[in-house]
Symmetry: none
Subunit: 405 residues, 2 copies
């Protein structure tokens, strides 16, 4: 029996409220042997109290020794084995800006770039043009048509856009056209499988790119595009169906909204900061029983390599914990979707610290003084894989029946 | 996606050097309640320092509660699930003495033994004859021929030899002929599956054994043979292909060289002791990026049941750690392929202590004072299966890409 089949069989409705608070890229590393990680360096009196009252553990979002992308990291948190369910970047970007995909769609993530007079890429991100400039550029190409297929082009953020081809007989088996470095031309799209659908889709995309090139060749700095992450809607079993939870996603960034929508969570729109998210949490509290709250900046500062700034972002989240607790959740989980140690400036494979607070049903651990990686190592929950978190959540949330007689 | 497929997708080349130092049978047991294990009793200042700087864990080479043979133990260390990939003893012995097997080969491990005038085994190892005497005995039987098949017989070490049948239509599905105790005759070879190939191979082998018996009946103490470990080349995916590592094996004993060669490591030949291995490490350092260094005697003394002697072997390895560190590896892993507690005089199922040192990317643990089983229990790496070690090694060696977008 797969994990999801098991959950589908065992989970049931209950009158409990669950909050999953994700600090993106939470896990860190010390700057010197024996030193604290970002979370350990942060002053987090509220999380420390919850750690003493609840349980700690270390979570491997995908599996031991694997560095997760944001997609696999969140799928794990949501209970879906990221090694089984794969989501392409094109689909992620599309759903992240609120597009609903059909089963006839093939989506790609596009980048505006800069090419010289010979078509050689001189800047893969077109000087990181603004979102406004991106929208203007999209305006120049969104009217392009091709025979037998509908085209949707939408700006995402900065130099990024999404392209969707909608129609029968399309394929996602195409190469990416970004050569991954400057000094080269964008690659031609070629089919990556031997099928009429792939050949036809490649041909359509190449026609589209040529029309784009003609329309924006005189613009600057964005005068060409690259495409990658070809993908179709993955058809995930719904979160509601598997876990019997009516989930709301309170996220600011498109990608995390997109991930939540792919498993069928209700997206709360129009949130731009933590204050909005807190306000929304209060507002939608009665209408839902599971709340995915996503905070991006811990990851951003980790990617920047700024240890101190990541510490401050963690402290900002700690500061709002009392207001989250005012809602009186039955289960509150605080964790990350992966580690992003400032010393590495990137996602990493290190297991993610996890705090599990569920009054009345947890065994706390007298060795634990606060929330941090070393403390989590001593934690009641041990080390486990991301896909098992929802089992713990539904169990502690009293939403799981006994397995077997 | 299988572990190896995942690794093949994610691993990439990098400018890092990795040493896997295997103390065979490292894991031990205390002689009395509360006493130290062999590793804990040993004076290991160098390993203790690395333990404080790096990370510890406990590794189950095959899985929880399973006592590994040397083959499965090493396959796990090399990243191959030992429950999926099986290597017969015959193949191990053959590749261990430098033979290259073809896909037409069936190999067996042979023992010279002593039988009385009635053919009853009186000594299963022929008084543990010397390797020289073994070579002389092989000289007496290597000219034997059989119709339709080539025969290769080579001495291995002491009373052990290898027999290879080479030709089309052979099978490895045969019983072993060693009755496993004295007072019985060697068993006749019978097919263990209902196939022409197995029947034909059994018939050929019985013919061969009869010819051997005739040729050596008047020798002493080796006047008969037994055969076991029938096997064919397992066709493992190559270590280079899966992990993008150009690996060198620095082992003294044939079996470990054989295991390394089966995954495609380069065997450094002519090593007879630790000093040779250190010298070779220095010499081949620039030409390779992964170094499998194998030390046998920890296991041998464990098998002898000699606690004190095993302690001394561990101390010998600790003594050379500074010279290994002179190479400035990016990752140094010190562990065993299984436990061989002196109190058990055999391989055991106890998880193996593991030390993982990779400056700058590890979370050390203030609870850890040195390298030992009890300390490993508190280690940052927790408990994990052998097949996951290469995931950690390639991750910490910065040789793994992010999984998913």
């Amino acid at each position: 029996m797969t994990d999801l089949d098991l959950m589908k069989t065992l989970t049931q409705k209950a009158d409990t409220k669950i909050i999953l608070l994700v600090m993106d890229g939470l896990g860190g590393l010390p700057r010197e042997v024996g030193g604290p990680t970002e979370l350990e360096a942060a002053d987090t009196p509220n999380l420390d109290r919850l750690a003493r009252e609840g349980m700690l553990g270390l979570m491997h979002p995908v599996g031991i020794g694997i560095s997760p992308g944001s997609g696999p990291g969140h799928l794990g948190l949501f209970g879906y084995d990221p090694l089984k369910y794969l989501i392409g970047r094109g689909v992620l970007e599309a759903v992240g800006i609120g597009l609903t995909l059909t089963d006839q769609d093939v989506a790609a993530r596009g980048n505006f770039c800069t090419v010289d007079q010979d078509g050689i890429i001189t800047d893969r991100r077109a000087g990181r043009i603004s979102t406004e400039e991106c929208a203007r550029m999209v305006g120049l190409i969104e009217e392009i048509t091709l025979p037998g297929v509908d085209l949707i082009v939408k700006p995402v953020r900065d130099y990024r856009f999404v392209l969707i081809l909608r129609g029968p007989g399309l394929s996602q088996s195409l190469n990416e056209t970004d050569p991954q470095k400057t000094g080269l031309r964008p690659l031609t799209v070629v089919p990556e499988e031997n099928s009429d659908a792939a050949r036809r889709t490649a041909d359509l995309v190449n026609q589209w790119v040529e029309k784009v090139r003609e329309r924006i060749r005189d613009q600057h700095p964005a005068n060409m595009v690259t495409l990658r992450g070809w993908s179709t809607e993955p058809g995930l079993p719904s979160f509601q169906d598997v876990f019997k939870l009516n989930a709301a996603a309170l996220a600011v960034y498109p990608m995390y909204k997109g991930l939540a929508s792919l498993v069928g969570m209700t997206l709360i729109q129009g949130l731009t900061n933590l204050e909005d998210q807190l306000e929304a949490l209060r507002k939608v509290w009665d209408a839902h029983d599971f709340f995915f709250v996503h905070y991006k900046y811990t990851d951003s500062r980790g990617e920047d390599g700024d240890f101190g700034a990541k510490v401050k972002e963690i402290e900002k989240v700690d500061f709002i914990i009392p207001r989250i607790l005012e809602q009186k959740p039955d289960v509150l989980v605080v964790t990350g979707d992966h580690s992003t140690p400032a010393v590495l400036k990137s996602h990493s494979w290190h297991p993610v610290p996890l705090l599990f607070w569920a009054p009345g049903v947890t065994r706390s651990n007298p060795d634990v003084q606060g929330f941090g990686e070393s403390q989590c190592l001593r934690g009641t929950l041990g080390q486990f894989n991301g896909k098992d978190l929802m089992k713990l959540i539904t169990a502690y949330g009293k939403r799981q029946a006994k397995y077997g007689a």
